[in-house]
């Protein structure tokens, strides 16, 4: 903290009694003032301030098995994509013996053309992740632009932007990509990512629009308007931060969609030309009849990595969901506690008579009642 501010603070705290006199004059009960104890003593005040680091940690999602598994999977694969290529041979080197099963020389065997599968896998990780990342960023930026602007401004802006969103939503993505991809002669990695991003934003735009519609009616947005904030700033500073968890989830989802979309395109032979991705590996494996020749080391690794990355990102997504909506996290625990309570209850009541509704019919009282009726 600034030295002058601290001085100012000290000066104020010594005369801190004066504003409260006002209340004494009014003859009022003192209001809840949790800081009154800390009044006299600024050292205690300083100690009460929570360090920034802890503040940030407290705001992060709770560590859960889901989150840890997801992070390990994702970071493992990303790491493999970043540093893996430095440790393998050239993926386009075809001097190796063809269709070798895994061996100490070629840990994941070789392809029909003599490429090292591990090398292709490492370079493919780079390509696939790049496509996913670019497509994800494009999709999130577009869905933000369309969703939040439509939701915040409403009226005709909303009508028009929603129309565009809905059109994009009903156009089946993959066929459109196939049409576009087959039109363009030189399909680079960037172009494929661009096309995937441009076709994959509509779903999250719908979600963001409804969220923004709800947030814009909050009092704090109205308060910001009364304070004189400009719409752009209200969207960026007041609304957007509250959408961050949702945005993070949607970004991860867009990345998964991008990677899967690229794999699908490449498998159909419409993927990026000249680059290696997991999708192009699968395509080559299919063309090289890997399945019928039993070359499992050729198609299982890229397929497994796609599945594992999707799994990892989804698990992170689930834990973000639980962070946004704590009910999701607490629901299984609550159910468990209900089950154990019921079991415990059954044990207690097992030596008594219980009717269908679970009400204890106490045998002794029942007899007394019967006696009374008899009298």
């Amino acid at each position: 903290m600034d030295e002058s501010v601290r001085e100012h603070e000290l000066a104020k705290s010594t005369e801190s009694a004066s504003p409260r006199d006002d209340f004494a004059v009014d003859g009022l009960p003192l209001e809840e003032q949790p800081a009154t104890v800390a009044f006299a003593n600024t050292a205690a005040v300083a100690a009460r301030e929570i360090p920034v680091k802890r503040r940030i940690l407290a705001n992060l999602p709770r560590r859960s098995p889901k989150l840890i598994v997801g992070l390990v999977l994702t970071f493992g694969i990303v790491l493999f994509g970043i540093i893996g290529p430095f440790f393998v041979q050239d993926p386009k080197f075809s001097g190796n013996p063809s269709l070798q099963p895994p061996s100490p020389e070629h840990l994941l065997g070789t392809t029909q053309l003599g490429y090292d599968v591990l090398a292709q896998l490492a370079y493919g990780a780079r390509g696939s992740l790049m496509v996913g990342l670019i497509a994800g960023i494009i999709a999130v930026v577009l869905s933000l632009a369309f969703g939040i602007v439509a939701g915040y401004f409403g009226g005709w802006t909303d009508e028009f932007l929603s129309l565009v969103t809905n059109i994009m939503l009903v156009i089946p993505g993959l066929p459109l990509i196939i049409v576009i991809a087959s039109y363009v002669p030189s399909r680079t990695l960037l172009l494929v990512a661009l096309v995937l991003g441009l076709t994959g934003w509509a779903g999250s735009a719908v979600v963001l629009r409804s969220q923004a519609k709800s947030l814009r009616n909050r009092d704090y947005v109205a308060a910001a308007r009364v304070a004189g904030e400009k719409p752009v700033r209200i969207i960026l500073v007041e609304i957007l931060p509250n959408l961050l968890p949702l945005l993070a989830a949607q970004f991860l989802f867009a990345v998964i969609l991008g990677i899967l979309g690229e794999a699908g395109l490449s498998y159909l032979g419409l993927g990026p030309v000249g680059s290696i991705t997991w999708g192009t590996m699968l395509n080559e494996a299919q063309l090289g009849t890997a399945l019928s020749s039993g070359a499992w080391w050729w198609f299982i690794p890229p397929g497994a990595l796609i599945a594992l990355l999707g799994c990892g990102l989804s698990l992170i997504n689930f834990s973000i969901d639980e962070y946004i909506n704590p009910k999701l996290r607490l629901a299984p625990a609550a159910q468990r506690s209900v089950r154990t309570a019921r079991k415990a209850g059954l044990e207690v009541t097992s030596n008594r008579n219980v009717n269908d509704d679970g009400v204890i019919i106490d045998a002794e009282n029942e007899n007394e009642n019967a006696k009374r009726v008899g009298e």
């Binding site: 501010v5 603070e9 104020k12 209001e31």
Partner: protein, 292 residues
């Protein structure tokens, strides 16, 4: 010092149900003048249009017709002039749990209006001013409260922050839309007294919107009673409370729990009212009998 004048203010809301459209008049021909240092209370039940009036004056809603005049000149709806208007007229919202952004600290909430309205220059001056504002609303030690987020504070503390935010631009007129209705009963009076003190210090004109006649009398110079968008009664607050002219005002008074009516049935209280010779027509009939 000029005044804030509301002239023939009317607001229609369009209600769409299927293809049918109908209009709801939320506020009809509202007139009053708010002088600096004075308090006007607008009283009425839910849906009587009192909050709509507040939102129109705060420029959150566009009036269908009518005018809001600040210092005798018609107020702007956009641009630089609107910022100047907001500089003078600020609002405190009803729900302190909703009116502060959960993502931002107290400091952010107070800094923004200070910067926007050019009250302070430079980070240091802004910080000092922020702390001073917090101290004015009795949130001490200010540096602790400045770093807090809304969810770390109680309802009363949040409402104090909201009041500090409204004061930040140096406003001359404050619209308080049921500022204490969401607070614990034990805190209400202290927040109201805080408002009263700030009003004395800054010579603020306060428009106090409430459904609570007791605090309206305690706190304001003039009371305006609204029913279904119309002003049905107005006058100095003691006169309105002690000598209500309109049936609806009596109903509002009777609706407040009164110890002397303890044990009586509602019908008996009504009968008491009737026997004093006041009012025979249906009080909820739209009469539009604005007194004075």
């Amino acid at each position: 010092m000029g005044s804030l004048e509301v002239r023939n203010l009317t607001k229609d809301f369009t209600i769409r149900s299927g293809l049918k459209r109908s209009k709801l008049r939320a506020a009809n021909d509202i007139n009053f003048v708010l002088e600096p240092g004075k308090t006007i209370a607008i009283v009425g039940e839910s849906g009587s249009g009192k909050s709509t009036v507040a939102r129109m004056i705060a420029k959150l809603e566009q009036p269908t017709s009518g005018d809001i005049l600040l210092d005798g000149t018609s107020s702007a709806t956009r641009g630089r002039a609107l910022v100047d208007y907001r500089h003078q007229v600020q609002m405190v919202f009803q729900d302190p749990f909703a009116s502060l952004n959960p993502f931002h600290t107290v400091e952010h909430h107070l800094e923004r209006p200070l910067k926007l309205h050019g009250v302070t220059r430079g980070a240091r001056e802004t910080k000092e001013q922020t702390y001073e504002l917090l101290e004015r609303v009795n949130l001490t030690p200010a540096n602790v409260f400045a770093a807090k987020k809304p969810h770390e504070m109680s309802g009363g503390q949040r409402q104090r922050v909201a009041i500090a935010r409204a004061l930040a631009p140096g406003a001359r007129f404050l619209i308080a839309d049921e500022p204490v209705s969401m607070l614990d009963v034990s805190i209400r009076l202290s927040v109201l007294n805080l408002l009263a003190r700030l009003q004395r210090e800054d010579n603020l004109g306060v428009l106090y919107i409430t459904h609570d006649l007791a605090t309206a009398r305690h706190f304001s110079d003039e009371i305006i009673v609204m029913l279904r968008g119309n002003i049905v009664e107005r006058g100095p607050s003691d006169e309105v409370i002690l000598n209500p002219r309109h049936e609806y005002t009596e109903l509002l008074l009777a609706a407040a729990p009164n110890p002397s009516n303890h044990g009586k049935l509602r019908s008996e209280v009504r009968a008491d009212l009737a026997s004093t010779g006041r009012g025979s027509q249906d009080p909820l009939a739209p009469s539009g009998t604005s007194v004075r």
